[in-house]
Symmetry: C2
């Protein structure tokens, strides 16, 4: 596939016809920065979304799932500092009210408003603070507001995460951009992770939904920080057509170019989450090939990327591949121990299930001393493969999470 796709500086307000703003509503006393954000499209946009698979789902997630049925969105209201999860009937009323207040402030239909919350579980939203802050938030909307929102949605993240690309589709220059937050509770199937993607292309809703689901499955669902999955994970994508393209859909000649651009944005955002993982000092790509099936590869990669023993060895720069073998062994994947090969950035560590002859501890330590490396496992049992992106487990992870709530 040929594409003229290019990275540009920017975020969710880079595509034409989007505005955004963030203010400090004071949702969590101890948080001394913006915590309430709004992303608005000038016109109703086609919307796609994917949500947490956790059976404990926050009310705003349920609201988004319901509104997604209509296929259109014009505004996303987002708060940090409080997840509005495990808040019972009050939580649903509050999520509804957040949508209603936003709709009346913007003078749009309430089914066009999507609501996202992130922060501590089990505490009700301070609705009076949100209500007081909304008029000022709406007034602050601007086409330069994307960066402020990228900051305001963060919780324990250290850096803001924005990606934008341009590509020619249907003869028009189109922009696709996104922002995300999340650094703890990160696991496949998305976890305390929010991402918002905007484009000024015009896109058929079903096609957009399939495109987004595929992109999420190859990006956000492949990252692991700690194996915990949250109650609030949401990825929303809005396509408003402001670039003047015809309606893109699966049979359009530029469809693959479009999907490729969406995948790029999702992939880059996902990588940014892992690199900003709580306490992370190393970025590790885990690839499993030669598995009996893709599912076996997935299980093995996930077990390696989740193992506290493997992750602490990465942290310590200790090329203890025995822990990787043990993780593969208990992963549930069908493997033959004597066929397993493992390389670290191409340096053979394990051959046929045991220490590779000819590889020195020094060479392996040199790889583990890097900030980024790849652990490649070949099970030599089939054609299934899978890639996961993860980080090490450091003492800082523990201190961050031992002190987060109170």
């Amino acid at each position: 596939m040929k594409t003229d796709q290019k990275y540009i500086e920017g975020g969710v307000t880079s595509p034409a016809g989007f505005k955004a703003a963030a203010v400090r509503a004071g949702i969590k006393e101890s948080r001394k920065r913006d915590d309430l954000s709004l992303i608005v499209s000038d016109l109703p946009a086609t919307v796609a979304g994917t949500f947490t698979s956790n059976r404990v789902k926050a009310p705003p997630v349920k609201l988004c799932e319901r509104n997604l049925i209509w296929g259109q969105a014009q505004a996303i209201i987002i708060n940090a500092g409080c997840a509005n999860a495990c808040t019972g009937e009050q939580g649903f009323q509050d999520a509804e009210r957040m949508a209603d207040l936003t709709a009346s402030t913007l003078n749009i239909g309430k089914n066009l408003v999507f609501v996202c919350s992130t922060g501590t579980i089990g505490i009700p939203l301070p609705m009076n603070k949100i209500e007081s802050a909304l008029p000022g938030l709406a007034q602050a909307l601007s086409s330069a507001g994307g960066a402020a929102v990228a900051e305001a949605i963060l919780t324990t993240d250290l850096v803001k995460k924005e990606v934008a690309v341009t590509v020619t589709l249907d003869g028009k220059r189109v922009t696709i951009a996104g922002i995300t937050k999340g650094s703890g509770m990160i696991a496949p199937n998305m976890a305390t992770m929010l991402a918002f993607i905007t484009t000024d292309a015009a896109v058929d809703q079903r096609s957009l939904q399939d495109c987004l689901r595929h992109a999420v499955d190859h990006s956000f669902n492949r990252i692991i920080v700690d194996g915990d999955e949250s109650t609030n994970d949401t990825v929303l994508m809005l396509a408003n057509g402001a670039a003047g393209t015809g309606l893109l859909q699966k049979k359009h000649p530029d469809w693959k170019k479009f999907c490729h651009a969406v995948e790029t944005v999702c992939h880059e955002l996902a990588i940014k989450i892992v690199k900003d993982g709580e306490g992370a000092t190393k970025f590790v790509t885990v690839t499993v090939t030669g598995a009996a099936t893709r599912h076996d590869a997935h299980m093995a990669a996930r077990a390696i990327a989740k193992s506290p023993l493997v992750k602490t060895a990465w942290n310590g720069g200790d090329p203890n591949w025995g822990r990787i073998m043990a993780a593969i062994g208990y992963s549930g994947a069908r493997i033959e121990e004597s066929r397993v090969n493992i390389t670290f950035d191409g340096v053979l560590a394990v051959q046929g299930g045991k220490a590779a002859s000819g590889s020195s501890l020094k060479d392996l330590e040199a790889v583990y001393a890097k900030k980024e490396f790849t652990v490649a496992v070949d099970l030599q049992s089939g054609k299934g493969s899978y890639t996961a992106y993860t980080c090490d487990l450091s003492q800082a992870y523990v201190s961050i999470n031992a002190e987060y709530m109170t």
Copy 2:
């Protein structure tokens, strides 16, 4: 059931007819203490065993599984410092040789020798050191040697773990005793965990195997330190009949008393492992009741006990029950969020899936400040229940495991 069971001081040489010894063979240079141990019964004993479910199995585990088929054992040779796992064909030859050397030194049949190894994965056993140390080890055998073995099998453990009970069976005073090691890589289905249980009762082999499997399922398989499972886990139990009982088996009137005593020994040993968990500062019992099935209860309890976010909150003394709700939600257990109740040592934290009215953060913090407490989850969806024993996740866990190998 009435029993006159009593705890006594002692370990594997407390039952009549058992001797043991430990020496320093120098298997791992940096280890400045005994690392080679022998437990011997005066006469061939009935043996039962349970082993790791990891698909990557160390050669000594496979040797034990094979010898278990004969149903009898007279000696267990155990080394620390090297797991003899992921060592290929050489590893099998070394495990066999360890058994052969022990058999010829003791002048017993080689199928009566069981071999256990624990330590670093992927490094071959220094067989010359083991061979040199064996004669001295055999000479040192004594009926007071149990405590020395309890010390010599330890790796990152901080304290030795012995339990002994006496109980009257078939009119004779019988002793049942055990030792164990393990403090990292601890998860259900046993992980870098070795346990050796001896008794001077005479027991039918099939009955002993069933009794041990049940006891292990309710003890060692319920403890979680970090969720990793090892390649070498082994529980072996020897019953030599030296107390002069008739053959105990399932239909014997004292069978339940016997099994109860074995369960007591396994349970106490398992609890000792968790309390000595790598970096552990708190001992937490997680009970799940009211689950749709026992399997659902198991999944929920395991997800809570494994969650790094839950465990770091325990470490920080932060009663952040939202993380427990999230873990229940992603556990795979079939739950209804609005029916979930959670108590901490009887203090209601969550009622109907949200913060319990009337419970204060102060009361919850008081529970979390304790060294030991119970997290009780009632799913109100059925009659399935499960209990897991676990500990917190501390910065010390990370530093221990970041520095272990090299």
